[in-house]
Symmetry: C2
Subunit: 198 residues, 2 copies
DNA sequence: GTCTATACTTGGATAGAC
DNA sequence: GTCTATCCAAGTATAGAC
């Protein structure tokens, strides 16, 4: 008979990652201390290190969850008409941008990933999966005559992601209205790949 | 009679910022220690703090220099035909992306700026100047019939910057060839604003 | 002006009682 | 499993000799 309740264990881990995510987004990874997290989560350091071996491990856990969410969306996009699928994936990628507090986290993960190989691998695999699926959808849309690609499907997919990055980059400007700009993003992408005006 | 030679003083400051910039790009701001900088620049900590009050001040100095370079380019762009001016500014913004080591520095400044008000002000002023000039050039190009803007000149200018951000975001992918992709960036922008294919 | 040595602070992680 | 107390390392910045 096990003494640990796996459900409770997972719930507590989740509580810690959720709390930490807010702090990382606000102050950045390096400037958020373990003490900060413990205080916010209302636990002791001893307890925190019972659940996670290091501070970095907490950070990684946050993005592992994110990868699983993504995979689900990609699967659903494959069921639509190709171009609609592309737009759906793009819309989904833009969702976090609409929540101000999440934006800081995205900037942080990019900055950290280039120096943390394990985190990098996680992020890269995730981006790769999105890019591959976008490339497939774009090629299909092209073959079906919905769009007319001026570059390879792969390059187009890369730039679709680049446009989303551009959206995130602009978020640091307090005057930038992300919600309104998502439609401009769609317009730019549509014109790029020769789709009908949306 | 002054005991300090202002030329030598400036040269030494420059030596420190150049050395530090390389380290910041490679390891990030927070993970680069003052000791690291001193070792690489071959000076002592005492000496370093004679030239800069804090570590952050070194970081800021790097980007102050950058702002001055930018202002010069913007002035020259105003002398060309409007659309050529736009393309020249964009090309200039892309130059740092071609140097791998500088890319890390760009990611770092974005991550840091949201938490350092003084640095933020520096970066924001710089971006604002670029955006204003781009908006003016785009509007003139539109009025001259070189392009046909589907959105306000200001929004278009913002997205021109967003595209450049997208380029930087893709740099973390080791397979991404920045040099080749600058032309794709120009294609996307051209189609967006209804310019002749370049 | 530049160095060496070091004071002072903070932070990540651990030990051991309960 | 959770806490308190604490260790040890690293980091910024300063003091004071030269």
């Amino acid at each position: 008979m096990r003494t640990v309740d796996p459900v409770k264990h997972a719930a507590k881990k989740r509580h810690i990652t959720d709390t930490a995510a807010g702090l990382f987004a606000e102050k950045g990874f390096d400037r958020t201390t373990v003490a900060d997290i413990c205080k916010a989560a209302d636990i002791s350091t001893g307890s925190l290190f019972h659940y996670f071996p290091t501070k970095r491990a907490i950070f990684r856990e946050i993005f592992e969850q994110d990868g699983k969410d993504n995979a689900e969306i990609l699967a659903r996009a494959g069921e639509l008409s190709p171009w609609d699928g592309v737009l759906m994936v793009i819309d989904h990628l833009c969702v976090p941008a609409l929540d101000r507090s999440v934006a800081g986290l995205v900037l942080e993960v990019v900055a950290q990933a280039s120096r943390d190989p394990e985190l990098w691998e996680l992020v890269a695999r995730n981006e790769q999966a999105v890019r591959d699926e976008l490339a497939v959808l774009l090629q299909r849309a092209h073959d079906a005559g919905q769009i007319k690609l001026p570059v390879s499907a792969r390059t187009a997919a890369t730039w679709a992601q680049g446009l989303v990055d551009g959206l995130y980059g602009r978020l640091v400007d307090p005057d930038f209205d992300a919600t309104a700009q998502v439609s401009t993003l769609r317009l730019i992408l549509s014109r790029f790949v020769g789709a009908q005006a949306p």
